[in-house]
Amino acid sequence: MTRLLVFGLCPLPFENTSKNFGPGIRAWQFIKPVLDQGVEVILLANRIPFIYPDETPDEVVTDSHGFRFYNMADTVFRNSSRIQSIHDHFKPDAILAATLFACVPLSGLKTACPVWIDLFGHVMAEAQAKAFCYQDNSFLEHFLNHQLTALQRGDIFSTVSNAQAHATIGELGLLKRLTAETTGYNFCHTIPCAMEPELYRHDKTVLRGVDIPESAFVVLWSGGYNTWTDTETLFSGLESAMAQNPDVWFVSTGGQIDGHDEITYPAFCKKVRNSKYSERFVLKGWVPKHDVHNYYFESNIGINIDKYMYEGLFGSKNRILDWMRAGLPSLVGELCELSVELPLHGVAYGYPLGDACALSAKILELANNRDSVKATGLKAQKYGLENLTFDKTTLIFQNWIKSPVKAPDKMICINESSGCDNVRHPNNQLVLQLEHELKQKNGHIQDLEKYIHHLETEFHKSKTSMQGADLPANRPAITGQPLPLSKNPLVSIVIVTWNAMEDIDTCLQSVISHDYLNTECIIVDNGSSDGTPNHISDNYPQLVLHRNENNKGFTHGVNQGLSKAGGEVVFLLNQDAAVKPGLLQELVNVLSDEWVGIAGCKILHPDEKTLQHAGGILHKNGLTDHFGANEMDEGQWDENKDVCYVTGAAFAFKTGLLFEIGGFDPRFSPAYYEELDFCYRAIQSGYRVVYCHKAVAIHRESTSTGKFSSRFYYLYPRNRLKFILKHFSFKYLLGTFRRFEWRWIRQHMPREQLIPLIRAYTCVSHRFVWAFFRDFKRKVIS
């Protein structure tokens, strides 16, 4: 026997409460047919506030109607351990969340079961209506969070109309769930609202001869006055009809919806009070649930009146179905699928939305044809019994529950820690094997990612990071001049090489075949011993080559190259990098802003799929990170943005910048932090450093210095300390820097880096003294 765990809202229709609510009816619409099929069901229902007596315990468990029903207060419903224990004990085959807000416990639930989520109405359209009603957009985010969480979590979805199903497909697309894996998979099914099979019986006189004359033509409103209710048209149409026919009366059972819409109904009441026909508006307010159907029998027509808004377009109307149970015909504004279809089948009356005159005319016409109206009501009842039953509307769900499966894109995300082990997918073994292999291969990357993630978290938490308010880089110290750029400027490409035979061809081929034509290329060779300069001069005679006799370091080499550069823009490229087409044009485009001094690239690893750099981050102790490092490039960093620095592997700057802030600081020789220092000085002078996502380069990291070599572990912290000492005050060193440096050393620094770090500290120790006197001098002078 299949086991189904249902999350829903209560009260359910059979409970003895004062009111019925759409979500409760909806849950019952799903549960009842599967119970009839022999499915074992447990319902965990969150109770709607203020419906049950105050003394009701937080959790009430009942076994009736063939299933176990947990009636839960909000605190219990959100208690993930309680929900998990029920789930683990029950071991369901599938899960149903009936209505969106019943999905709340799903976010914390560990399960491998397929999940069917019923989206009972389009929540963002509802949020819009509510935002309009209260003139407040703050609802939107809350509703959207719920919606997106549900859409991410579900394997299959149901909606109340085809229109809503299509809207949901749109949302799934934005959530990137329409992928190669899910092509051809139908995510959304329409399950329209349905009427219960038991018909109502007239068991008490509540209206005729009590509040209104026997001969009256009664137009009935029942249910809440919701955000979508067009009380303007309703009131005008009714007043106009009442003026022309003294038999027309309006009866309303229902009122404001506490906590959801407390505006529409009071506004309508105010209009009614000021009307000259106010005595023919009988506003009964909310009446007991067991009396409501008697009003249906004593009325001539039920009226439903919408404003034009997306909530109405995507939604449905339970009240119309309730009227059909009693054989009461309806007069409906043509908006939602149900209110368009019923008039087409001749089982309801329609009128154009928002047209009070047409509404009035229709009421008068119906008032003069009472027999025909009654016949339509009976026809509607028959139509409902044939087409809109619980059983017929939920056929798709009933079929699914026989062999529930996960969505194709969720197949590989089976949660191993789940207690539900009775779901077996034929590809499970293969999937697990692949997962195992993937885990092994990506082990190192994952470790790195964890570390980076931690650094990022630290960075975002802290206010002294580069983007924080008190960062030196953000100080408005404007000293530079605007640097305009001419059209199609000459770009000087500067490449510093050292023993680069392995990479240089890839690098230079990409440069000479580049689609930006106005370029010159200057190569500075730092005394390579592997024949690199000869190789370049033999094979690339068109390039300018400068040979150094010995290795003077990257920084010095760059400055040599810059002294020979004649272009308006200098593009600095590492020997182990290659440029992609369009790169230079994109960089020039970005640099055309007169305040953009430096433009960096999106840098990819050699696989051309994994990101290496999408702009740089500077931490409080001078450590650096790259946005997007080791992430798959899926367009998540495809936006130009201002950054603290860009990596020196491939970046461009205006030659004019050199006159404003100087060249690369030789103190950072042989390598590391020279580009950060350069960018930092540019920002200090009021220029922008911009990451340009359309400029793409490929980079094999550190072939010249060897990343993660012992030399790297020494040079990197040494230059970091130099950078901090150069730009930050002694007070900063003693305070913020010391705190964060110590925390990093204790918590994150690998042990093998300790000795190089001590060497680095020793190497720059005299500079601490110098920094102290520098600041002291400044203070005295000031």
Binding site: H122, M124, A125, A127, Q128, A129, A131, F132, Y134, Q135, D136, N137, L140, E141, L144, Q147, L148, N162, A163, Q164, A165, H166, A167, T168, I169, G170, E171, G173, L174, L175, K176, L178, T179, A180, T182, T183, G184, N186, K307, Y308, M309, Y310, L313, F314, P476, I478, G480, Q481, P482, D515, G582, Q585, N589, S592, W595, E634, G635, Q636, D638, G686
Partner: protein
């Protein structure tokens, strides 16, 4: 009359180019009524890669015909936002219209306070899905998502090709916070279905002589025609199986195909189909003509007995439309199509052609056999379809909402303020402005002295500007 900056894609149907694709037709569908109504239009079209092969074409080709300024540019120029911005600033349009998704995306990048009508010609995320399936790479999903996002955030009105796509777009707008208190009751989207093309210039040049019968197939052959690109949604497997089965039953049936792979979009599906054909024992009855000049297509249509359209079950099909169906209806060519998109449902509902369920080979075989043996039925369908598309699917009738909007274009209610109230970039933007302003003052003091700086400040201060005159 308004000044409209229209961004679109080439080649237009009037160019009689090889490989006329749906985006070009869509651009033409938008352009034609605007010109007819007397608006001044600046049309900038990116040349499609497939049509960009001719080496003699200049980067930018500018022409002026009456009310139309027409720039035909390469994709690299089209993507150069500075170039587009310059044209925009020079033309000073009253509104901007992007015809099809990619031009709409570029239009959304423009720094402009003019209202933007963005045409979502097919549901882009569903297209990304089918493309990802064909290339087995989800890269396209992320890439196209960025375009979609930019359009949804910037556009004031959106047009789509079908009602299902309209609803999907509203769903997306909700997820981008565009369904808010300011836009309640505002109609963001309009359905502009594909239209028949009124390219009379081309119809006059249709060759009179036979191009198919007696040339590639026998005179008495029953020709099943495919015309257009083999796109990601094309179900070549079902098509091939069904045709093989039909060929085995009828010796006079031929399959004629004009069109082929779509460069830079789908270069796999067509090749797969060709491979299947190569291994078929009926390969001589598959006449694969590849891309042919646009005016010759009309001759192929004229000489064929029935046109076939066949979709995989996908959201792209459900939400999208099919231009080729419209072309065939307009050319009185009877249609067999899978029942998926809204247009195919219209065809079924009004008996304008024959439909079958997607990916159902046996049903397709039955339908084909039925059509081969009952030519009278086909003719009646074709006549009815011709009348129907002329009445409801002319460029003029389909673009009514656009024509009305262009007369007095307005921004969406939540775009009336230049800065969106909930935008996080507002403080940053002001910071930048303030920084630049401060820098300019410092420069002015240095270069021109205090008096000059005071004048400079007054000239830029609203309300005090006249003091400097």
């Amino acid at each position: 009359m308004s000044k409209v900056l229209l961004l679109g894609l080439n080649p237009l149907p009037t160019q009689n180019d090889i490989c006329t694709l749906a985006p070009g037709k869509r651009t033409w569908q938008f352009l034609n009524p605007l010109l007819k109504n007397g608006h001044r239009v600046c049309l900038i079209c990116s040349r499609h890669l497939a049509a960009q092969q001719k080496s003699d074409q200049k980067l930018v080709n500018a022409e002026e015909h009456g009310n139309l300024i027409y720039y035909s540019v390469t994709q690299s120029v089209f993507e150069n936002i500075h170039w587009l911005q310059r044209i925009h600033d020079h033309f000073e349009p009253d509104c901007i219209v992007g015809a099809t998704v990619y031009p709409s995306y570029m239009a959304a990048q423009l720094n402009s306070d003019r209202p933007l009508w963005a045409d979502l010609f097919g549901h882009i995320m569903a297209e990304a899905q089918t493309k990802s399936k064909v290339f087995t790479d989800n890269y396209y999903v992320a890439r196209l998502w960025n375009q979609e996002k930019a359009i949804l955030d910037r556009a004031d009105v959106l047009s789509v090709v079908s009602q299902p796509q309209e609803y999907a777009t509203i769903g997306e707008l909700g997820a981008r916070f565009r369904l808010n208190r300011l836009t309640t009751g505002y109609q963001f989207t309009h359905v502009i279905p594909c239209s028949i093309s009124n390219t009379t210039t081309i119809e006059k040049t249709v060759p009179e002589k036979s191009l198919v019968r007696g040339v590639h197939v026998p005179e008495n052959a029953f020709i099943i025609l495919w015309s257009g690109g083999y796109n990601t949604w094309t179900d070549v497997t079902t098509l091939f199986s069904a045709l093989e089965e039909v060929f085995s039953r009828f010796s006079n049936v031929y399959f004629v195909s004009t069109g082929g792979e779509i460069t830079s979009h789908d270069e796999i599906t067509y090749k797969q189909f060709l491979k299947q054909i190569q291994n078929s024992r009926y390969r001589s009855r598959f006449v694969m003509r590849g891309w042919i000049p646009f005016n010759e297509v009309a001759a192929y249509v004229r000489e064929s007995n029935v046109g076939i359209n066949i979709d995989l079950f996908s959201y792209e099909g459900i939400l999208g439309s099919r231009n080729r169906l419209m072309d065939w209806m307009h050319s009185k060519l009877p249609i067999i199509t899978s029942e998926l998109c809204e247009l195919s449902k219209v065809i079924k509902k009004h008996s304008l052609g024959i439909t079958f369920q997607p990916e159902n080979t046996s049903e397709l075989v039955d339908v084909l056999c039925q059509t081969i043996t009952n030519s009278v039925m086909l003719e009646s369908f074709a006549e009815k379809a011709f009348d129907y598309c002329n009445r409801y699917y002319s460029a003029d009738a389909t673009t009514k909402p656009l024509q009305e909007w262009v007369v007095s274009p307005e921004k969406a209610p939540d775009h009336v303020d230049y800065f969106r109230p909930d935008s996080f970039s507002v403080p940053e933007t002001f910071q930048h402005l303030f920084r630049h302003y401060k820098a300019s003052i410092v420069n002015n003091i240095r270069s021109g002295g205090l008096v000059h700086t005071a004048q400079w400040i007054l000239a830029r201060t609203p309300g005090l500007r006249r003091l400097t005159r």
